[in-house]
Every structure is written in C-alpha cells, then in structure tokens.
C-alpha cells in the first residue's frame, strides 16, 4: 500500500501546475511536486514518489538503494506498474 518509488526529475513543467516529469527505471511519467513546495526539487534531483506525489527529496545513492529494496521486497514490478498507471497531466 505505502510504496515509495524513487524517481529522477528529468523535466519541470510550468510553475503554475506543480507537475514534473520523472524517470523511474526508464519509465517517464508526470508526478506532482505540490508537497515539496517549501523545498522545490530542481532538474536532476531524486525524489520518493507515493501515489503520484513526490514526498521527499533523496540522494542518488538512496534512490538506487530504495529501488534495490523494492526489488528485494518483490515490489519492484508493482512499483513500475504504478508509475506506468499515472495519468497526471496527460490527455
């Protein structure tokens, strides 16, 4: 339920929308940065994503470790499926 998925910010949208494109093991989707208003991530930053919203900024090493943890927990596929499922800002 409480999957926290690491992603890298590869594109920042308009300031008004709070949306940014993240990449999670090759999958690119939009996520919402609204919960990080006090400490906005910039291009190239890594974040932990939960239900389509970036929850916290993390280091690149922590992001790699977190993906490995998800893999060990048997939740990596589920995480990628979740990211693929995000439809934020499209269509």
């Amino acid at each position: 339920m409480c999957l926290a998925i690491p992603g890298k910010i590869v594109e920042i949208g308009h300031e008004s929308s709070n949306l940014a494109t993240v990449e999670v093991v090759g999958v690119r989707r939009k996520v919402d940065l609204g919960l990080l208003q006090d400490d906005m991530p910039v291009l190239g930053d890594w974040v932990l994503i939960h239900v389509g919203f970036a929850m916290s900024k993390i280091s690149e090493q922590d992001a790699i470790d977190q993906m490995e943890t998800l893999r060990m927990l048997g939740e990596a596929e589920q995480a990628i499926q979740e990211v693929r499922g995000y439809g934020l800002g499209e269509g």
Binding site: M1, C2, L35, H50, V51, M55, S56, I58, Y86, G91
Partner: protein
C-alpha cells in the same frame, strides 16, 4: 541466517546482528512492536526473525490501512457504485478487499463502473474527462497518503470540478498506538516507528511515548540493515535505561516532518470524533473527515451513505494478534477458514497484514518443510 549473503550489506548486517545478540543477552525477553505494515512485510520477506535472537519478539502493529478498514465502510463506499451515473475509483490494493456484498472487483464483474487509479489526482482527471458523471474516490491510508488526497481536493475546489468527491477513510497512526498501549493485556518494551508516515508528521508526535510511557521508539527505514540498526538503537536505549525518540531514517525523515503536507491536511481535513478500526474497535479522534468548507467534494456530506456496521466474525482473533497477545498461527482460524485467498479477519486481507505476511512466508516455509518441495 541463510539469506544474509544475498544482502548488499552482508558484512555490516552480520556485525549488527552480532551486536544485537550481545546486547540482548539471554536473561530477559524483549517485545518490540513494528507499527508499520511495510516493516512487517520486510521483516518476513527478509527473514529477519531468523537473524534476531530468540528472546527478541517482534509484534506486528496496526499500520496496514487496508487491514484496519472496517467491512462496513467498504459496503458504504460500494453502495454508491450501484448508481449508473457514478464511477467508483480506488487504489489497486482495495480491489480485492471483501465487503459483505463482495469486493470492488466483484462489483465491476457485475457491470458496475469500478476503476483502479494509482493517484487521487487521476480520479480528479477522470472527473474532468467525464463531466456528465460523478467520480468518487475511495480514499484510504495513513498520513503518508492523506496529503495527496488533500492537495487533490484543493485542486478540485480551485478548478471548480463539481462532479468529483472523496469517500474519506484516512486514519492517523498516533491514536492507534495509544489504544494499543492503553490495552490492559499489552506488554511492549519499545517501538520500531513508521518510516513514510514520519516523512509527513516528523518525529515530535511520538515524544509522549518516550516521556509518558517510558518506552523507546526508533523511526526506521525499510532495508534489512535499517530495521536491524533500529533494533540495535532500541536495545542501546533499554540497556542504558533510556527512553527517547530516535530517527534511524534521517536520510528521508526530517525531524519536523513535511510542513507543506501538514498544511494541506489541516486545510482540508478535521479529526473525526471517533472511527472504527477492524480488530481494535472504536478509537477516538483516530481518523480524518472532510471539513465543511469542502462539503461539496465530500461523498458522505453529498450523498446518502447507509452507515453499514459489520461485526467481525467472533472466531477471528485479530485484536489479540494486533496487540501481540497471540501469534498469527495461534488464532483458531489461521490457515484453515482464514487464508490470503479467503480472508476472514482483517490481518489476512493485505500482504502487509501480519497474518498474511506470516502465512506467505513462515507458514508456507513450514509446509514445505513438512510436505517437501512441490513437484
């Protein structure tokens, strides 16, 4: 210990385990509760029980939002799916959770418009794409998830999307911990604190556990080494006769939490006077409802919700397991009437529930040991 070699930090893990063993000694029994369902899953999956000494017992806490949701709330939410004008949306985790009239997935099979969303934002987007219908989002989760629902509702209001509402089942972790500590048959020495909830609420809300209840609590990450280090930090406190809040997961959890997230929650939600938890009963001020200023986007204020109450089957001993009085396998129904495929009690419902985790790892392992590997 056979899994240790597979871990990234195998050497450090072995050393940490040795230090835990040394500090735990053998003269005393320790009972620690890991509050978060994610930790429960990780503990079983990584086989950490096999690494820890026998005199440390881990009690699996109430932190699985799917498990603690009363069946009546599922019935309430699904009652609206009967309206052909309504699109019922929920996270994938909810889809197989049984109500008395079946799960959301079974309602979909009967022709109702039930859809999985991966984000509350996507439910709002669906509402914008279907202006002639009403999109209802069945919201569950602790403080990890509630801010995302809050931001989505703020956006719905700002954009004037009126065909969207949230059936709010968000719960808060602190009152559940208090209820467990207040229970007369409870004996716990310390807590492994939840990781992702704490990214939002920070570490301060746990201070009463240390100050008033005199029990250590260590906020922990989810890697095997994180959990072992947290247990080590707890033992160090206990051996020094200390009790404080410590943060093992500093790389993700700020002491003060996430102010923007807390602000969004305060804008949209208020505490319910009381809320029912499966396995624990009614707990005062333990859940969130939507403020009147967002009444138009609150399923419960906007529609007639029947308010179904379903008593948990008496034979299921979820409450005792949640409080650590019984181990999952000691429940009369465990592995017989109650399995992950056909859950009777709350803790078998999700893979993060302690009974399902126990069943999936320990029970299957034991059966393989008894019956041999399947052909």
């Amino acid at each position: 210990m056979k899994f240790v070699d597979e871990f990234r930090d195998a050497t450090v893990i072995t050393k940490t385990a040795e230090e835990i063993r040394r500090l735990a000694g053998s003269s005393r029994r320790y009972r620690f509760m890991e509050v978060c369902g994610g930790h429960t899953h990780a503990i079983y999956r990584f086989g950490l029980k096999d690494i820890l000494p026998e005199n440390i017992e881990l009690i699996h806490g109430p932190g699985c939002p799917v498990c603690v949701l009363p069946m009546g709330r599922i019935d309430d939410g699904l009652s609206l799916a009967h309206d052909p004008n309504v699109i019922f949306t929920a996270f994938g985790d909810m889809m197989r959770v049984p109500g008395t009239q079946g799960s959301p997935l079974e309602h979909k099979a009967r022709g109702m418009d039930v859809r999985i969303v991966y984000s509350p934002s996507d439910a709002l987007k669906l509402a914008k794409a279907n202006p002639d219908r009403h999109v209802m989002f069945f919201a569950i989760g602790f403080e990890t998830t509630a801010p995302s629902t809050a931001l989505t509702l703020m956006r719905a209001k700002a954009e004037g999307v009126r065909n969207f509402s949230v059936f709010c089942n968000h719960v808060t972790i602190i009152p559940a911990i208090r209820a467990i500590l207040d229970s007369p048959d409870m004996r716990l020495d310390a807590f492994v604190g939840p990781g992702h909830v704490s990214t939002v609420i920070g570490c301060r809300p746990y201070e009463w556990i240390a100050k008033d209840e005199h029990k250590p609590i260590v906020i922990s990450g989810f890697e095997p080494l994180d959990i072992l280090q947290s247990i080590l930090m707890i033992l160090r406190q206990l051996n020094a006769d200390e009790h404080k809040v410590e943060n093992q997961y500093k790389r993700v959890v700020p002491w003060e939490g996430n102010r923007a997230a807390l602000k969004a929650m305060a804008e949209v939600f208020q505490l319910r006077p009381y809320f029912e938890w499966r396995g624990l009963g009614f707990i005062s001020q333990s859940a969130l409802s939507i403020r009147d200023t967002y009444a138009e986007w609150d399923t419960e204020q906007r529609f007639h919700v029947p308010g179904v109450r379903v008593t948990d089957p008496k034979a299921a001993q979820c409450g005792e397991v949640l409080k650590g009085v019984l181990k999952p396998i000691q429940c009369k129904l465990f592995g017989k009437e109650c399995t992950p495929e056909h859950p009777v009690g709350a803790l078998m419902v999700s893979s993060e529930g302690s009974c399902a985790a126990y069943y999936n790892y320990e029970h299957r392992k034991a059966m393989v040991h008894i019956m041999g590997q399947p052909a």
